[in-house]
């Protein structure tokens, strides 16, 4: 069974149609890159999959593990195994990073009928994941994302992903605002999580992220639709030619 199956998705924001008949199938273990010009609807797609309020599905279906997502709350989608690496992670003063992580992990465990993770086991796992990503301990003691640099924020997103073990990792412009070293660390973190059952939806404007996270499929999203799909060589072609062809084609 496909992990994620999107058929003829139409969606709007504030009555403005953004996605106009998008179809996409992601099987377990696959890495799909979604590329496209600014304003094409890439973030809208990730928001729709994760259930952000204000994004309205008007037509089509989105299924995750065979389950229709449209009736599920954002937290239910997360517990089912969807994780979005935010392009701009939200700073939340007053919520400690560690407290937040444990709350999120336990919410997921509870939904699966598992008991709460004991404090020692949690810390052991957290320490291991933190170390792998080169995250300083001090960061864990800070409020969630507050005062984190761009690179730290992305690493913190990957750390959450490592702890929550999703089946679908959606990366929205993970490379934005990162220098090459920070990008490599974050991408290595993602690669470490790849497995035959775990899939990646890698949304990006530029090809350079795909040097690190190698896609099985590349799709071009323009004007709310996937206008072309191919292998990873398509990304290089886009890098050279830009999106001009597709934008005019879609218009």
């Amino acid at each position: 069974m496909a992990l994620l199956e999107i058929i003829n998705l139409h969606a709007q924001v504030e009555d403005k149609p953004i996605l106009k008949g998008l179809s996409l199938t992601v099987n377990p273990g696959e890495v799909h890159a979604i590329m496209g010009p600014n304003g094409a609807g890439k973030s809208t797609l990730s928001n729709l999959i994760t259930g952000r309020p204000g994004y309205e599905q008007t037509e089509g279906t989105v299924r995750f593990k065979g389950q229709d997502l449209s009736a599920m709350a954002p937290e239910e989608r997360a517990r089912a195994g969807i994780f979005l690496c935010f392009q701009y992670p939200v700073e939340i003063p007053g919520v400690g990073f560690t407290t937040f992580l444990r709350t999120a992990l336990n919410a997921r465990r509870k939904a699966r009928g598992e008991s709460e993770i004991d404090a020692a086991a949690f810390l052991t796992r957290l320490k291991a994941a933190t170390k792998a990503l080169g995250i300083p301990d001090a960061m864990l003691k800070r409020p969630l994302n507050v005062g984190f640099s761009g690179g730290e924020k992305k690493r913190a997103e990957v750390l959450q992903m490592a702890m929550l073990e999703p089946d679908l990792m959606i990366l929205d412009e993970m490379d934005s605002g990162l220098d090459i070293d920070a990008l490599r660390i974050a991408a290595e973190g993602v690669n470490a999580l790849r497995s035959p059952t775990r899939s990646v939806l890698c949304i990006t404007h530029y090809q350079r992220l795909l040097d690190y996270i190698e896609p099985d499929f590349v799709h071009v999203l323009a004007d709310g639709r996937i206008v072309r799909s191919g292998g990873k060589e398509l990304a290089r072609e886009l890098e050279e030619k830009g999106y001009a062809d597709f934008v005019s084609q879609a218009a």
Binding site: G51, I92, P93, T103, A107
Partner: protein
């Protein structure tokens, strides 16, 4: 037929009533009654009571709280007090309860007990506290504090000798047990720290449900030079309870008064705190947090009087308004002509969880010196939808996510409470309040 408006407006006091007792104490009480009669019961026409309307309280037919038969510790509403395992003094309907109190562990140099007992044995040494200018000013300008003074007879006396540093907090519990019908009490607290003394005082005001208990409390705080008091209070009156309180703190040279008030309970609360920075280098940090839901009205009114040079003050209040909860914050900083080098800050922030919630804010700076650094600020906002979605997108359900964000909002106020056990105790009560919200939501 229409309701008769509050008449000549001195409810709770018969025209014939004269102060009890003679001598200086009788005179103090009589001045209190006179002060109340002169000012009248607060109405929205009083500038200071514009946002908090007491007219329904003024219409209550009140009795003196009943003498309460012996309670046991099990009768205390543990979930509405600060959970602290420390020496405690318990007052039930304003009367000191020896059996419920635990004074065995009271450290040396600390004397604590009932005002009634001190008035019987050695009233004279309270005279400087009750006759000090700040208390007289309160009688002249706070009608209900004046009324309290008129009936001054019982409450708390806590005195800490000069140089004594008290390890760990002490807990004062005020419990209101309702009568057959509405009751009115005038508890008085007198807290005095000698030069260089230090202590943390946790205070819980709470009530059992039933007919409305109206508490009209006044607490005098007098800090000697270099003394340091952390005065943390939980106001968690019963749902029908009314709490009108005035704290009058006189802070000596280089002394420090840290006040924190967490208000969660009561139908109507007016928490007035007046601080007189009375000696050079004195400091006061008057902070608080509150949360109001359906039908609750919570008013924090702060007045910091910079009477001397080089004193420092700050005010930080954070309010969470849910359902039709209503908040009021009035914060005034007065910098007198001689108070050069004053540093005075004030900030109020409100989180409005529903469109029906409301908050009124009145900041006031009155500055007569020229070398001062003063500021005030206020914000009011809704819950951050981005933050909420972020938390939910990690699998945290909406109720829990909201609770986390409410706690996060209150966090920077709560962290100003230095004692960890007291801070944790406050946080626990905040979490209970949050659970109450979840329940209310489920029940609807």
């Amino acid at each position: 037929m229409t309701a008769t408006p509050v008449a000549a407006a001195t409810p709770f006091l018969d025209p014939e009533t004269r102060a009890e007792g003679g001598g200086w104490l009788g005179a103090v009480r009589q001045a209190g009654l006179d002060g109340y009669r002169r000012q009248g019961f607060p109405t929205p026409r009083h500038e200071a009571w514009k946002y908090t309307n007491l007219s329904a309280v003024g219409r209550l037919a009140v009795e003196t709280p009943p003498a309460v038969p012996a309670l046991t510790a099990a009768d205390l509403p543990g979930d509405r007090l600060l959970p602290l395992d420390v020496p405690r003094l318990v007052f039930v309907n304003g009367r000191f309860s020896a059996p419920l109190s635990d004074l065995d562990r009271l450290p040396a140099g600390v004397r604590a007990g009932s005002l009634r007992a001190v008035l019987l044995t050695d009233p004279g040494h309270l005279r400087p506290v009750l006759e000090r200018p700040q208390a007289q000013e309160a009688v002249a300008t706070l009608p209900l504090a004046a009324l309290n003074t008129g009936f001054l007879s019982d409450g708390l006396v806590l005195e800490i000798d000069a140089g004594v540093s008290v390890e760990g907090p002490l807990h004062i519990i005020h419990l209101s047990v309702p009568g057959e019908s509405a009751t009115l009490a005038h508890p008085r607290g007198l807290i005095r720290l000698g030069a260089g003394a230090r202590a943390t005082l946790a205070v819980s005001y709470s009530g059992l449900p039933g007919a409305p208990s109206v508490i009209n409390a006044v607490t005098d705080v007098v800090l000697g030079e270099d003394a340091h008091l952390s005065h943390v209070r939980l106001l968690a009156e019963a749902p029908e309870g009314v709490h009108i309180g005035a704290v009058l703190a006189t802070v000596g040279a280089r002394a420090r008064y840290d006040a924190f008030t967490l208000t969660l309970g009561g139908r109507l609360v007016r928490n007035e705190i007046r601080v007189l920075l009375d000696g050079e280098g004195a400091q006061a940090h008057v902070n608080g947090a509150y949360a109001a839901r359906k039908g609750q009205h919570i008013d924090n009114t702060v007045f910091v009087d910079h009477a001397v040079p080089n004193a420092k003050s700050s005010q930080l209040f954070k309010g969470v308004l849910d359902e039709t909860g209503r908040g009021v914050f009035q914060g005034k900083i007065l910098v007198r002509r001689d108070a050069q080098g004053t540093d005075g800050q004030q900030l109020h922030q409100a989180l409005l969880l529903t469109p029906g919630a409301e908050v009124d804010i009145k900041p006031e700076l009155q500055i007569y010196a020229d070398d001062v650094a003063c500021s005030h600020g206020a914000t009011a906002g809704e819950m951050d939808a981005e933050a909420l979605f972020y938390l939910q997108s990690r699998g945290i359900d909406e109720e829990t996510a909201r609770a986390l964000l409410v706690e996060a909002f209150l966090e920077d106020a709560l962290t100003t409470v230095a004692d960890e056990a007291v801070r944790d105790a406050l946080t626990e009560r905040v979490r209970d309040w949050q659970r109450g919200r979840a329940q209310a939501t489920w029940n609807v």
